[in-house]
């Protein structure tokens, strides 16, 4: 029953995005233009390590862009009140939103990562695994923070302030997975982060959407 609710809520988000086209085109445009600007801005002979760092700048800010739009449909017509009143488990609302945001981020990266390889440096399986694990973490934490920020008045300002400090371990893990000879340790760090913060976000969502 719980998973059916999550599936229905995720499907709803994908359908809304498919029709409104508010989030994914903005994310794609941002990540592609960022990589193009970096391509021309970086001097010749810049090392791969710097390029991986820039990839993570692009990933984190693209995710922020998606998260900033994540709860807009719920706040437009007060739909969140309707969802909160339904007898289903309220954490299903968070999980549905997290999965939908993750789908948008992964979709943006299916364009961004090949472009990165074309412009800058190769990405091996470990680096891609690092990106996927970091995606899960940033969407899990970010969906909760975006719900908190959306309830406030200055959500555009509040969201980066809440998410960026929490994204630091993900950036460290992601870059480490791409450049370190001990990449597995960084993948483990990312997996641990995902597990801990997903459980915390899942458990605390109810308190964010109710008084």
């Amino acid at each position: 029953m719980y998973l059916a609710d999550v599936a229905a809520l995720t499907r709803k988000d994908l359908r809304v995005e498919l029709r409104a086209r508010d989030t994914l085109p903005a994310m794609l445009l941002f990540v592609v233009s960022t990589l193009v600007v970096f391509h021309f801005a970086l001097p010749e002979g810049t090392g791969d390590a710097a390029a991986y760092g820039l990839l993570w700048v692009a990933i984190v800010f693209t995710a922020l862009l998606g998260l900033a739009r994540a709860w807009v449909p719920e706040h437009e017509h007060g739909v969140l009140d309707g969802l909160v009143l339904a007898p289903s488990d309220r954490s299903a609302i968070w999980l549905g939103k997290t999965l939908a945001t993750l789908a948008f981020l992964v979709a943006a990266q299916t364009v961004a990562l090949p472009l990165f390889v074309l412009f800058f440096a190769p990405l091996d399986a470990t680096a891609i695994a690092g990106v996927l694990l970091a995606d899960i973490g940033i969407c899990a934490v970010g969906s909760l923070m975006a719900a908190m920020a959306a309830a406030g008045r200055s959500r555009e300002l509040l969201l980066p302030l809440l998410v960026l400090p929490l994204a630091i371990p993900l950036v460290i893990g992601g870059v480490g997975a791409a450049v370190s000879p001990e990449a597995e340790r960084y993948l483990l760090l990312l997996a641990l982060y995902d597990g801990v913060f997903a459980v915390l976000s899942w458990a605390s969502f109810e308190y964010v959407v109710t008084e």
Binding site: V16, D81, G82
Partner: protein, 194 residues
Amino acid sequence: MIRGRGLEKRYGRRRVLAGTDFAVPAGGFATVTGPNGSGKTTLLRLVAGLIVPTRGVLEVNVERAQIGYLAHEPLVYRELTALENLELFGRLYRLVERRERIGMLLERFSLWDARNERVSTYSRGMTQRLALCRALLHDPQLILLDEPFSALDDAGATLLDRELEALAGEHTLVVATHDPQRVARLTTMSVALA
């Protein structure tokens, strides 16, 4: 069914519902009246459990699943059709025979022909009728209606009159309105907010 004692809600320094007392028995029809800013919407949101009082005690002896709430906002997705919105909420409310119930409500509120159109293309009156469908979808015991006649044309308002008549007595209704005369013959008690 609902009992509030000394209810008060603060929004920053602003205080609404300064020590309001009220009680609505099961099957009662209560109208909540008062000028703008007196706390009618706040009272309904408190009863719905969407907010908690700053002071006072509120007892609502009904499960969350048995509350139907019509707010100022329609609480439906603009980019989904009427059918998709009601399907989603019907699923979340675990309705058995969901399709039949949705079809019946859309027919009753004259939205059947527009069921596959996006809400963003609806007029304000059609959106309000859809919001009523959503609030009544799960046949709730306790129905909270915030200005239900707003944006409805004559035909829509007559339709709602008939609906309220059918619901009164069998369900508990709390209706916040600027026009208490419209529901005067159904009203069993009034809560006047200052």
